[in-house]
Point group: C2
Chain length 291, copies 2
Amino acid sequence: MTTATLSGKELAGIIGQRVQQEIRSLEHDGVRPVLAVVMATDDESTKWYVRSIERAAERAGIGCRIIDLGHDATEQVLASVLRDLSAEPSVNGIILQTPLPEGVRTDSLVGLIAPEKDIDGANPLSLGRLAVGQPAFAPATARSVVEILDHYAIPVAGRNVVIVGRSAVVGKPLSLLLLARDAAITVCHSRSGPLGKYTKEADVVVVAAGRTGLLTGSHVSPGTVVVDVGTNVLPDGSLVGDVDEASVSGVAAALTPVPGGVGSVTTALLLLHTVEAARLQSPALVLEAAG
Amino acid sequence: MTTATLSGKELAGIIGQRVQQEIRSLEHDGVRPVLAVVMATDDESTKWYVRSIERAAERAGIGCRIIDLGHDATEQVLASVLRDLSAEPSVNGIILQTPLPEGVRTDSLVGLIAPEKDIDGANPLSLGRLAVGQPAFAPATARSVVEILDHYAIPVAGRNVVIVGRSAVVGKPLSLLLLARDAAITVCHSRSGPLGKYTKEADVVVVAAGRTGLLTGSHVSPGTVVVDVGTNVLPDGSLVGDVDEASVSGVAAALTPVPGGVGSVTTALLLLHTVEAARLQSPALVLEAAG
């Protein structure tokens, strides 16, 4: 059996076009969306990632403010910057980039991101709103999985989606997004026993555990669609997912590649969320809606 | 095979003793816990339920303020009352009792309950905090399920718990509580296809769908523990759960009864949450902790 490759690149292009449309429409109303990224680390791969967001934003016509507070930034300074950005009308979206300096409580900082600017769903309130069906931004990675399944017309309603990994960034918000689409969801993880017990019964498996080679061909059944959310950097600098591609290929019906799968869509969605946030915050558009 | 009955009454008694201990310790610091219940309905069964909370609170030595705003209360009035109670230092716990008058947006009202007083986990922020592992009160019904499993020493770590129902009051918060205890969780519901596909594979099944007779003996495997969260009032006024007791008895290893199961523990937990909230809010105790 041939395993189809579910590339994220085409979808990222389509989302990019939606971003362009939104930007033109916002321009018409005199609004230019602005994304702020707050960081406090010297980690090179993080700096590289933030620069890639900056370049993508600028290419799209979204203003991008990188606020680099340095590796010794205090929680107090980070909090004050997040409060200012949350209150600043010209800023539409805010990302608090991890890792943060040791001893800084990320938990309490993300609660300072105004929910309407929380375009990567980091504030617990965003997660809670998703859970009760109120408008909120999901973490871009979680939404990315759903958008890929939609793009390739893979149904989830009435089907069993197994999520490997219970993080607040992927596993939990993704389970909420999929429940809202009428899937049955199973969340398993490193402490829930043999993986195959769950993944072999799945229609769709989403792996988001951060462990190279975790899901192998023996864990999946023919016909299963596998989405690989893992992004693990090998010692040689190359990027691999959580799926053992060699053994899963030939068993699964379809598989997202790493790189070029979920990650490609995630950056596009961060920009889409930023323009969506700008639209929701635009006074002109709010008046239009009210009138 | 004999199906064991997992009564909630003994556990409710034990929780009641913990409440008593806490109250004595709070008295020592000059604090008397107070629970406020806001209601706006003429529905007789709701009024009966609120009176039962009031009686239980008073028996325990917890002050209980019933604020009945009448069936025609506006959202504005409800909002203003919730804001006042959230700001009022003498009130430790707040319940917004449903149903509310037609047209009132429950969603936006629950967001006004201060998280530290949100003893029934109604504010989406409480749910989000649970999801990220921050301190928060879970909805009492969801916690009740976990406490019953604990009380009867039924392990969940590394095991498969299947939750039938995806509500923000039971299914979703319960899945968060169980993930935190290292269970693998599956959430299925009315639109996720044949129930037995999931429930027959489960170590523990929790049914919280609100449909009489939904789970039958043909849906469970020998050895499965079944927790019935359903509370359905029959035309003759009697209370039944979501489980068809006649057919599940004799197949399942154990079953919680309705009434006398989850519901008995829920009221005890509402009181426990109120005294826990009072302890967290007590200035004397905060000073003690800081000193």
